[in-house]
Symmetry: C2
């Protein structure tokens, strides 16, 4: 945004410049900048990396800004500061877009911009300047204080009151990422893993701050108060889940008469038994966010014969995302973050029973579904109810609000022992491929393959 708090995208000068529009979370173009940030932090501030899984991602704040600085300096120079969408929305509603007063949320600052109370805020000015001197100005616009969702960003303006039809002056709670509020709306508490399954997944857990918590490598951050105020919020996730199924249906099947729809493929895939197709896939069509934190990984499908059918591939892709999910759960377990319960929400969790069944079998855990069809919105409403307070008809705290407002559906998906057994065998093979292609130091020594292909591809495209 410029000095007045106006998004550059809304200015005539920049309305056609893609770099002045919102940078989507799944934009990975800043992968080289992410690598540079990781490298510098590893050398000078390993503590920064420890709290974000060991690798700074191309999906995050400084990678994108640094990439913009390099590919479109005009946009970078015109920006007075950069603001996360979750902060921009609350600022807009409360008339606090002015960069000098805008409040930034714990969730975004902690998970994407390396903010931590441990080092008193954002990364050091020196650190940012070593990445690029021009980042000094950005640093100066970032405040030392950030806010959890139990704080009001401000109160609703007259203008937005009219547009939305709710009273002016009511408090607007601080923002957070959709997934994190979805976790709140799904009733997250210690021991409960909330999975938001849509185009990608976000996997969230909370831990009491009294807990002695290890730094968990490969996850997307351990942030004080990012999910529920006063608790550690831990986030992990898969860069693509529903997006992979969409790719197969929309791009590869492309309207084929025998299959061609998610419903038809899901129905046929549901009739297959685990292992029956002989296929195995890696769920990396959009890179791997957790636990490898490597956007330059790509998809893999193995086991095709001359008889392999689309529904078999479709099921293999679902299974691959389930194996990816299990890898995240296992990583949490290895570092003492135990999962007692899994609650799922998001479009895919609600609309695809066979998928939930496969997830239950692969993880050997009962899959519950958040009762609300709009868990993220419900989480926002819970935050609003807490910020408003009991006196205004709301709640004193999140536990009380969640108890009243959250729940799971009656239908749950229980693991079927004979399927669990087959998936344990398949998961071993998945891990073999995962480690061989995804881990540089692995004995498989194939970690170069996907990257070399991307380099060749880049050269072919220039």
């Amino acid at each position: 945004m410029d000095k007045n708090g106006t998004a550059l995208a809304l200015l005539d000068e920049f309305k056609d410049d893609p770099n002045a529009q919102a940078w989507l979370w799944k934009d990975h173009t800043g992968y080289a900048e992410a690598a540079q940030i990781t490298q510098l932090a590893a050398k000078e501030h390993p503590e920064y990396l420890a709290k974000c899984g060991g690798i700074y991602s191309s999906e995050w704040f400084f990678s994108k800004i640094l990439h913009c600085l390099r590919v479109d300096p005009k946009v970078f120079d015109a920006a007075y500061t950069w603001v996360e969408h979750a902060d921009y929305m609350t600022a807009l509603l409360t008339g606090t877009c002015d960069p000098r007063i805008i409040k930034r949320c714990r969730c975004a600052a902690g998970h994407k911009a390396m903010f931590s109370d441990d080092w008193g805020g954002y990364p050091a000015k020196d650190f940012l300047c070593k990445l690029d001197k021009k980042l000094r100005r950005l640093y100066d616009t970032l405040s030392k204080k950030i806010y959890a969702i139990d704080t009001a960003a401000g109160s609703l303006t007259q203008e937005w009151s009219k547009k939305l039809g709710v009273p002016a002056g009511i408090p607007v709670a601080m923002g957070a990422f959709d997934a994190h509020l979805g976790a709140v709306g799904s009733g997250i508490r210690e021991g409960t893993l909330v999975k938001i399954i849509g185009t990608s997944t976000c996997d969230m857990v909370v831990k009491a701050k009294a807990t002695r918590l290890a730094d968990v490598p490969g996850i997307c951050g351990i942030v004080d108060g990012s999910i529920l105020p006063g608790l550690w919020g831990l986030e992990a996730g898969q860069s693509a889940v529903g997006d992979i199924f969409n790719w197969f249906v929309s791009y590869i099947q492309a309207g084929g008469k025998d299959a061609g729809s998610h419903d038809a493929l899901t129905q046929k895939a549901a009739r297959l038994r685990p292992g029956q197709s002989g296929l195995l896939a890696l769920d990396w069509n959009n890179g791997n966010r957790t636990i490898l934190v490597d956007q330059r990984l790509t998809g893999l499908l193995l086991g095709q014969t001359l008889h392999t059918k689309p529904e078999e591939i479709y099921r293999a892709l679902i299974e691959a995302t389930a194996f990816g999910a299990l890898t995240i759960i296992n990583r949490f377990e290895e570092y003492g973050v135990h999962t007692k319960e899994i609650v799922n929400c998001g479009g895919i969790a609600e609309k695809n029973p066979p998928l939930m069944g496969i997830y239950a079998d692969v993880t050997s855990t009962e899959m519950k579904i958040s009762r609300s069809a709009q868990s993220c919105a419900l989480g926002s409403a819970i935050a609003a109810a807490v910020v408003a307070g009991k006196a205004a008809g709301g709640y004193d705290n999140f536990a009380a609000a969640q108890k009243q407002m959250c729940g799971v559906k009656d239908i749950t998906y229980k693991p079927i022992p004979e399927n669990v057994k087959v998936y344990q065998q398949l998961y071993k093979l998945y891990r073999q491929l995962h480690d061989a292609f995804g881990i540089d130091a692995d004995a498989g020594r194939l970690a170069n393959v996907m990257k070399d292909l991307l380099s060749i591809k880049e050269r072919a495209n220039t």
Copy 2:
């Protein structure tokens, strides 16, 4: 066939039993029997294996017969002997189906049934009996003498003369496999590699018998006179080529409106530059015949993103078959069998110019196309013309006949240097995957993956 030389398939009793019908070359159900034969030969008769690439294939004579013996003993017991189709056809035309007089051809006996003059014929009776005692009876029906295509199987019967409209009594040349006669019809000679490209490929070269010829591991046989009389015939091949493209179009695309035909996909794929898709595939959807001789290998596709398009996959599959072709050429080279010229024939070679262009770029060799649209039939005609002899309007020898009757088309496909360069990089990665998944001892240590998946699949299907 039974004792009268009647094919069991033609008897009422067996007309509905698939095991009594012709066993297609690409039947791999006898893989366990092939492994047993390889194991026993490695222990007791390594010389048998040396002449057939080091591994006895599930596609060959004894693997299939032993498999039938095990899965359908009724058919095995009813068969007096087993006859290759190439021998059955000539016997039928010449009225020599009687198992006591039927002539068997060098090509089939040498490449599929381990016949060699080095050990005086078929594998020893003791050897076969160790595989199964019941094979003794089969052994007794196999003659000590086999015949090249410069010999007459007999002369055309009255019955077939009427059916075919050619004079009775004319000599009928000994048979050979379609591909081998295709090589003859494509003008094969020393230094010329003939590739028959159809659903699968067959790659053939000949070498003077004076040459000191190494045993070439992983090829499908080195047989005296199997292609041209008096020369070593060397055969290699890929278990699936066109079959893989057909699988993708018929099974996976399944009539998708945006693509769905070989022509449409080929046209779009031809517009891509080498390396541009970031994809890499292994051409093992039907196992690997040369150089790994392992039918329990399966397909692999790697490098998919959320934007990968069908034509990119289609091209990657074509490229995979080209890399497979190069692997065969390299193997010949490593053992001193040098390729000076490549002549292609078969449906795909004639009808798919972009594919031939890719083959030229990948192998860095000009691709020529056999002039005849029916090179295999032409090879048969050449054999007939030689067997008939000059006096009857034919030829004295194959060189003279080929000189008159064979040629290549005007259009050839020359390698494009900049494409060659990119494919050299891609081929390195192909070899990395090839070795990691295909070679047990490779450091990649992934050779278990495809096989474990097949074992899991087999258990899931029972």
